[in-house]
């Protein structure tokens, strides 16, 4: 890729929306008020699995101020087949016939006053015939309790075309990868190590909870939604209504956090259906509590086995069970894509992966910052440390020996390129002063350190489109459907336009997603925007540049003349008038993996690599762990905005720190028992370690200006680095997240031969 000379890329341009955000004036859907608007309050299931026998809404309907109470059957009057989902059409807009988890939406009260809607929702009574439920992902493989009677593939995304309709199983997808001859390698190995690791169910918890509003006529619907995927919303709502795309308009604003939660359909189908029924605008804003019933991160179980011959890992077998909850959402893609890299960023000749997406009667799980990769890295990097320890080899040296280098085939057979895995490891070791002696603490406080690295294949194949509109005074607007949910995409995209057109970045405005105005984008997810949308934006700007050059030529100017843009327009149109519009679209090459072997020559357009080094202090009397330092190093290609890259790395690590140390959804019979910020704790200022971040010298040669994605890379290594550091400090090994003080304490007692009684 030719690098232009605009000087706008590679620079820490301050965020465009900064002044609006620090002064409280930034626009969020949360704030939206529409004339005549009703608000909806959802009544939710109290059983984990049951047949709906009766829903009595009379008392709710009778409360003064209530406009309407709507159930799943009522929805059918406007949407006869009200099931949606990106992988399977398994999720009803409101429960029909059965409920599949505690917290599933069953009915909605509509009123002008949210307090009235709230009070009325508490007056609804539902009776269920309870059915056997299954909660554990491994049990779900063989359970007699089957969550869905039949599975109906959606067929929307090209990478999920192979999903099959099935009956009488909880397995939504099984991905397998077969490379080399694992059985033989294990038979020939000197030593074989096998461990099982688990992760808990957690959630995104954006501080702006889910919110969507709709206003409709008989022939058109406008949806205002805090969504990461406005284009998908339009297509899916159009499908549900049987309308052409151009009758559905989806608009977003800034998002108060997304992290993978606000993808696909969440409240959008519901508000559209309600608005069509009552012929008024309808808005639903979830509470913090309701986020726990909406979308979560997969709990998982990962059995990993390695064979070592002559000090080298020759075989690795991975079996992963993903707890997808009651609806598939995007779980099948999490299961498949993460399966590509389940064996870790190592050069291993024989690899065997089985990865299962399972339905259970828990709140649905989807994408959360890393798309399954943090769960896998947690397991394979603890396992790698355990193997190194058993072999008596330094964990950094052991990793370096196996590192997957460029031009070597990865487990899928895809040849590695532009993946600076070794550089990430080297910079981590250097920053951690790995070769130097380490202060191990004294008395009851013991110190330890650990590292971990992970990598990820990007989602593919996906499409991004962009339009650049240059105005007659030389300023311009970018129309793209990438959603700025805090990751800084507005700034990055403006920098790319400014770079190509050689403009100051301040002259570029970014038009926020509005499907009537901004062109298609697959979604803002999976660290894909900088690369995919970045390319589309670059191409659109290059088209503008080419058209400008043509305009200059038409006006008889010599090539390379420096007549200002505004002057060009004046000469052509006789005044300040006209536009130059350029468009760009981008879809990278991709080859689906073979169904039976998981092998493909092109698994991903680019690889993301991230690693973390952790230092901890463990209180040996209580098991309390203080993480004192986190060093986050990643290969992000060439950063377009180094400051934004830095905050993305550190923000991702902070989030994963919460998932590592204390975040956990607790359940009792499928009911979440800690659905609030008082009882589900996320990291605060006083949990912060010293944070250091580094983007290694790298270039994604086919990326826009050498860049690639960064949003998730900071999450990869955090959990295993901390667990490895705890082992280093006190010699106990935890295999289940979160790494609570009690878990550490119990392990310490067990190691002393004095296990603490369960009580």
């Amino acid at each position: 890729m030719t690098v232009m000379s605009g000087g706008q890329v590679g620079r820490s341009v301050p965020r465009r929306e900064g002044p609006a955000k620090v002064s409280g004036r930034a626009e969020y859907v949360h704030h939206l008020r529409l004339p005549g608007m009703l608000v909806g309050k959802i009544f939710r299931s109290t059983v984990a699995h049951g047949r709906i026998k009766r829903i009595d809404v009379t008392a709710a309907q009778a409360l003064p101020g209530v406009v309407s109470v709507i159930t799943g059957e009522d929805i059918r009057t406007v949407i006869p087949h009200p099931y949606y989902g990106p992988a399977f059409h398994d999720q009803p807009i409101l429960a029909l016939d059965k409920v599949h988890y505690v917290g599933e939406p069953v009915a909605v009260v509509l009123a002008a006053d949210p307090h009235v809607a709230d009070a009325a929702a508490q007056l609804i009574v539902a009776e269920y015939e309870e059915l056997p439920a299954v909660f554990d992902e491994v049990e779900a493989m063989t359970s007699k309790a089957v969550v869905h009677d039949t599975l109906k593939p959606a067929g929307t995304f090209p990478d999920l075309k192979h999903l099959e309709g099935k009956r009488d199983t909880n397995v939504a997808l099984d991905f397998r990868l077969r490379r080399g001859d694992v059985a033989r390698a294990f038979a020939e190995a000197d030593r074989v190590f096998e461990h099982t690791f688990r992760t808990q169910q957690v959630l995104h918890l954006p501080l702006e909870p889910f919110v969507s509003a709709a206003e409709t006529t008989d022939s058109a619907a406008t949806i205002y939604t805090a969504s990461q995927s406005p284009s998908f919303v339009r297509i899916e709502i159009a499908r549900l209504l049987g309308w052409p795309e151009n009758r559905v308009r989806v608009k977003t604003a800034f998002l108060g956090g997304g992290f993978g939660a606000k993808l696909y359909i969440k409240l959008e189908a519901l508000v559209v259906a309600l608005s069509l029924m009552v012929r008024r605008p309808v808005k639903i804003s979830l509470t913090m509590e309701e986020q726990f019933y909406t979308i979560t991160k997969h709990a998982s179980t990962f059995r990993i086995k390695s064979g070592v011959k002559d000090g080298r890992i020759t075989a690795r077998e991975c079996e992963v069970w993903w707890n997808g909850g009651a609806y598939a959402d995007i779980g099948p893609r999490v299961t498949q894509k993460s399966g590509f890299t389940a064996a870790g960023p190592y050069d291993i000749d024989n690899v065997h992966v089985d990865s299962y997406a399972l339905y259970t009667n828990l709140p649905p799980a989807g994408a959360l910052r890393g798309f399954g990769i943090p769960q896998l890295v947690w397991a394979y990097e603890c396992h790698t440390d355990m193997v190194a320890h058993e072999l008596g080899i330094d964990p950094v040296a052991f990793r370096r020996k196996h590192i997957l280098r460029n031009w070597r085939p990865q487990a899928t057979g895809t040849v590695m390129r532009d993946a600076e895995i070794e550089a990430v490891l080297d910079r981590l070791a250097a920053r951690m002063d790995w070769a130097k002696p380490f202060d191990r603490g004294t008395g009851t406080i013991r110190r330890g350190r650990g590292i971990a690295i992970g990598f990820k294949a990007s989602v593919a194949p996906t499409t991004s489109m962009a339009i650049v509109n240059l105005y007659a005074d030389g300023s311009c607007a970018l129309y793209c459907s990438t959603v700025d949910m805090g990751q800084g995409s507005d700034t990055i995209m403006a920098q790319i336009v400014a770079e190509v057109l050689n403009l100051p970045v301040e002259s570029v405005t970014v038009v926020h997603p509005d499907t009537d105005v901004t062109p298609y984008d697959m979604a803002t997810l999976g660290s894909r925007s900088t690369y995919h949308m970045g390319h589309a934006v670059r191409l659109a700007a290059e088209e503008v540049r080419a058209k400008l050059a043509a305009m200059a030529e038409e006006l008889g100017l010599p090539p390379g003349s420096n007549v200002p843009v505004a002057e060009l327009f004046r000469r052509k149109y006789g005044m300040q008038a006209g536009n130059v519009v350029g468009s760009g679209s981008y879809i990278p090459a991709y080859k689906s993996p073979d169904h039976d072997t998981g092998l493909t020559p092109n698994a991903t357009p680019y690889w993301m690599t991230g690693g973390t080094g952790a230092e901890v202090e463990v209180d040996t009397e209580t098991g309390q762990v203080r993480v004192t330092r986190l060093v986050n190093v990643a290969d992000v290609g060439k950063p377009i905005n180094p400051k934004i890259v830095d905050t993305q790395l550190s923000g991702a690590a902070v989030m994963q720190l919460g998932f590592t140390m204390f975040e956990e959804m607790n359940f009792d019979g499928g009911q979440v028992t800690n659905a609030s910020l008082a009882d589900y704790k996320i990291p605060g200022l006083r949990d912060m370690p010293v944070m250091e971040n580094e983007a290694v010298a790298a270039e994604q040669r086919d990326g826009p200006f050498g860049a690639k994605g960064v949003g998730e890379s900071g999450t990869f290594g955090v959990s295993p680095a901390i667990a490895n550091a705890i082992f280093d400090a006190v010699g106990v090994r935890l295999t289940k997240l979160p790494l609570t003080a009690e878990a550490v304490y119990r392990a310490l007692r067990a190691a002393r031969g004095q296990p603490l009684a369960e009580e």
Partner: protein
């Protein structure tokens, strides 16, 4: 929240008269931080709230005499935290307040509400019990005084009648007392405590003449641990005595299991934190 009536009497006595001893849907509200949580969660649906915000100004004053720090029940926790008298005379209270919830809550929540809510996770009750504090209560029939220790009848339950209001908290000032409060969180740093331990030691020179040790959060209400006190009384708090006190504390406490930890684990936390709290009290200057 559901609609309710809001009345704003001018005195605590009048406020008590507006409360109904038989109607749990009528309650007093001061800062309201705890009550609002219950109302927003739908677990409390009042018909009427009696606001204490316009009562006599004496009810939010801090006063000192030779033997007592007297704190009006309507005093915001932040005012108590910042009070020069508290810092000088009862620094353990100032230090504890700094770790209590957050600045915004302390700006609004009152000491009376903090006590009357009877949430076992609250930070001040164990310390106030250890310090031998008492409260003055007004009701329609008059006033009575009771030790803070006997205010807590159970989990979120007080011994007050529905139409009684806390008017004032009195904390005795004994220069020879050393006190400390430690709390232990097991999840994020700003979590509710899994355990709170308050210690007040009456000293004669370097000898402990009396020890009061109170645990909270792990138990259904703040609880005095008498066995641990006995182990310390008459000694100097040396390692052996501390070990005996810690073991006695762990033996006699009845922790509740919850999301912060199992009962067995909390028992071990008690064993550790009682020792740490006694050491902290011994290390603290006069009056803790």
């Amino acid at each position: 929240m559901t609609p309710f009536d809001l009345v704003e009497p001018r005195s605590l006595r009048d406020a008590a008269g507006l409360l109904d001893p038989d109607d749990p849907s009528v309650r007093p509200i001061a800062g309201g931080t705890a009550l609002m949580l219950m109302m927003k969660a739908g677990v409390f649906k009042p018909t009427r709230l009696v606001s204490l915000r316009s009562v006599e100004p004496e009810a939010s004053r801090i006063q000192v005499d030779d033997t007592t720090l007297r704190i009006g029940a309507l005093t915001p926790l932040a005012s108590l935290e910042r009070s020069a008298e508290t810092r000088r005379l009862l620094p353990a209270i100032s230090r504890t307040l700094r770790t209590l919830s957050n600045v915004r809550v302390r700006n609004v929540a009152t000491i009376g509400g903090h006590l009357a809510h009877a949430d076992p996770h609250m930070d001040l009750p164990p310390l106030l019990i250890a310090l031998g504090a008492s409260i003055r209560v007004v009701g329609p029939g008059g006033e009575r005084t009771l030790p803070v220790e006997s205010l807590f009848a159970g989990y979120f339950e007080t011994s007050l009648a529905r139409n009684e209001l806390i008017a004032e908290l009195s904390v005795p000032l004994w220069p020879q007392v050393r006190a400390a409060y430690l709390k232990c969180t097991t999840r994020s740093a700003d979590d509710w405590p899994a355990l709170g331990v308050a210690v007040a030691l009456e000293m004669a020179g370097s000898s402990i003449t009396e020890a009061r040790i109170v645990v909270s959060a792990a138990t259904e209400r703040p609880t005095k641990l008498s066995g641990a006190s006995v182990a310390l009384r008459g000694g100097r708090g040396d390692d052996a005595a501390l070990r005996r006190a810690c073991d006695a504390a762990a033996d006699e406490v009845s922790p509740m299991a919850d999301a912060h930890g199992s009962a067995a684990y909390k028992r071990e936390l008690v064993r550790v934190y009682v020792g740490r709290a006694v050491r902290a009290a011994l290390a603290a200057g006069g009056a803790g």
